[in-house]
Symmetry: C2
């Protein structure tokens, strides 16, 4: 794709955005057909399509296959968050990275974890708890369960100095999953690991990863106080 | 675009994904040129382009204009979050929605708010605190500052029963902004408003909205305990 073409769909996007903002295209109403817009703007229909798709991806247009494209009455803005490997995140912030294994056990997960993994019968999983440091400060607890079939004994040995977060990235392909953001009060053990007051408000990311519909791992990342995720919308 | 074309770029995407997962395309390495892939798959180059763009949007490929397309060494997965209007969010969860104004003042913002808004000189803003309910339970505190030039006296009157969240959506176009997710411990006043124990861990969204580079509003949404945002990746 040439620079000219790229400019073209972006300028169509800007013009469409200006019409949404000026209410020439009103909330709740259908906008003109792509073919008509292409003629008006003097560009190809695929350029219009690309521009409108970009606006739909941002939640500023509502595209339905047969019902056409509308300006939504209440636009739900979409924010894209980058979910980095923990080590990369810490290094990108200018800190030295280190990792320490807290515990590693083969055990039957508690009910909430079994539900997240979709395990109906009681079975053992590999339960790994590790601590990631930024310089000498605890940054995040990684509390992870892995399907035992994925790791052989040499892998298990590797976990003494390699975080499962990194092991998974390089050893297990993953196709889809869910991610949830929430908060919790530090209990005694969490407070001790993160070196923070008991009861402190902590930011939590829970992530469950599937490969071809089979849940392979679920992790709870519990961040030290003050952590925040920021992105633009 | 016809159904057949859509199927086509998606099947190219699946084949590319399979090559990433099987490590036929290795982490850190360049993948073949789009033209060569188009020939191999027997499809147009724009179909290959669309498929690779989709994978890049998900963080599974790293596309650089001149350096070509690589499989990233450590893929940062991207998650898209929908940021809905609060009322729509509460209704979508099956609750009755109501709103109550807590306070409305014209005042000079504290430093952290002035910084978020990019206001260098001390000036008054409209400070509105409101409470959104799901059925009869407090759901979220909306603590918002608005550029005073945006609201006339009739608007200000409207805020007695219309949340600024909704007023903004329908009255002020917005083009860009930042959004941050974090957590905090409830202070006494917050705990009283949300009807929760003082010190409870609360989920917080901070959002600053610009229109043509001018900051027009910043809001802190403080959710009642138990709130979480979930999405798929």
């Amino acid at each position: 794709m040439t620079d000219e073409k790229q400019k073209s769909w972006q300028s169509v996007k800007e013009e469409a955005l200006a019409r949404i903002h000026s209410r020439r295209w009103k909330p709740g109403q259908l906008i003109p057909f792509e073919a008509d817009l292409a003629e008006e703007f003097g560009c190809s229909r695929s350029t219009v399509n690309r521009a409108l798709r970009a606006l739909a991806d941002e939640g500023l247009l509502d595209r339905r296959r047969k019902a056409g494209t509308r300006v939504p009455l209440y636009p739900a803005r979409k924010a894209t968050l980058s979910v980095p490997v923990i080590r990369e995140d810490i290094i990108a912030k200018g800190y030295d990275y280190s990792y320490s294994l807290v515990s590693l056990e083969a055990e039957v997960p508690p009910t909430d974890v079994a539900v997240r993994l979709g395990w109906t019968a009681a079975r053992q999983g590999l339960h790994i708890v590790g601590l990631h440091f930024a310089n000498t400060s605890p940054y995040v607890i990684e509390d992870r369960w892995i399907d035992q079939n994925l790791a052989d004994s040499s892998d298990v040995e590797a976990f003494s100095n390699l975080s499962p977060n990194e092991w998974l990235v390089t050893h297990v392909p993953f196709t889809a999953g869910t991610i949830a953001f929430s908060s919790l009060n530090a209990d005694t053990q969490t407070a001790r690991l993160l070196d923070c007051p008991s009861g402190a408000a902590l930011f939590v990311i829970e992530r469950t990863t599937r490969n071809n519909r089979r849940s392979i791992t679920t992790v709870r990342l519990i961040f030290a106080p003050g952590y925040q995720i920021e992105t633009s919308i």
